[in-house]
């Protein structure tokens, strides 16, 4: 693949994951691995930037939900931002909107911790 499907950066004690490719099962496996790696370190706070993509499937949503739960156990959390209409629809459909906090911008996601 020409481009990395996702990249990680940080802002203070928050890790920010930029997702660059639609989250079907193939890329969801990368997401799960990236999040597992982060969550198994001392990271407590993760923000996932979904603003570059148009699609998400249930496997990817599961990875987000699972990581959020894991982080909450150590008093952290996972938040997402930049949900396209179509992604918001999928979140709403499976009920993830009630489990994961989502924001319009990176700054508001970061400010919410």
């Amino acid at each position: 693949m020409a481009q990395e499907s996702m990249t990680t950066r940080e802002s203070a004690d928050v890790k920010i994951v930029d997702v660059n490719e639609d989250l079907g099962s193939y890329v969801a496996a990368d997401l799960r691995k990236t999040l597992d790696d982060l969550a198994s370190q001392k990271t407590q706070k993760i923000v996932v930037n979904l603003s570059q993509i148009q699609h998400i499937n249930s496997t990817a949503i599961g990875a987000l939900v699972g990581t959020a739960k894991k982080l909450r156990q150590k008093d952290g959390d996972l938040k997402v931002y930049g949900l396209a209409d179509n992604i918001r629809r999928t979140f709403d459909l499976v009920g993830a909107s009630s489990v994961i906090e989502s924001y319009n911008s990176e700054s508001s996601a970061l400010a919410a911790f």
Binding site: G24, H55, S58, N86, T90, L93, V94, G95
Partner: protein, 153 residues
């Protein structure tokens, strides 16, 4: 076209190895097809998502190895698009359809669970869903989309 065909109906077949990496290609095919036959954008997104969920399941739960392969059969007629995804099955998962596995999956689903949202999505976003064991020891998942959901003929 053929004389024995009472009404217009056409069939497209796609076979790919059981790997997630082929799903985007399948989705691109379906997207172009669905656009041409005139479904709206929202419907198009739903069909892409459903294709992803069903193919992901066939690969993850219905294939022994990548070489097992999955098959996608799209049937188009004047009123609907049907997509059938066929896998060859995976040992230890053979009984998922029987014994109320589907009911169980549906009953156990909860927003805070990591898994089990796929079939729910498929059921909610399609006009019709049918799941059957097939003669190859795997599963046939068939979904139907009416061309005009408000006035199904």
């Amino acid at each position: 076209m053929a004389p024995e065909q009472k009404r217009w109906q056409e069939c497209i077949e796609l076979k790919v190895p059981s790997r997630f990496s082929y799903i985007p290609s399948i989705q691109a095919f379906i997207e172009q097809l669905v656009q041409q036959i005139g479904f709206c954008q929202t419907r198009l997104q739903d069909i892409k998502l459903i294709t992803d969920e069903i193919c992901s399941n066939a690969i993850e739960h219905g294939s022994e190895t990548a070489a097992s392969g999955i098959e996608l059969i799209c049937t188009l007629d004047t009123s609907r698009l049907e997509i059938l995804v066929r896998d060859k099955g995976k040992r230890g998962q053979g009984d998922w359809l029987t014994g109320g596995r589907l009911d169980e999956v549906t009953r156990d689903r909860a927003p805070h669970h990591e898994r089990g949202h796929g079939i729910y999505i498929v059921r909610r976003l399609s006009d019709y869903l049918e799941i059957h064991p097939n003669s190859q020891g795997g599963t046939d998942v068939r979904v139907v989309f009416h061309r005009s959901p408000s006035t199904p003929s």
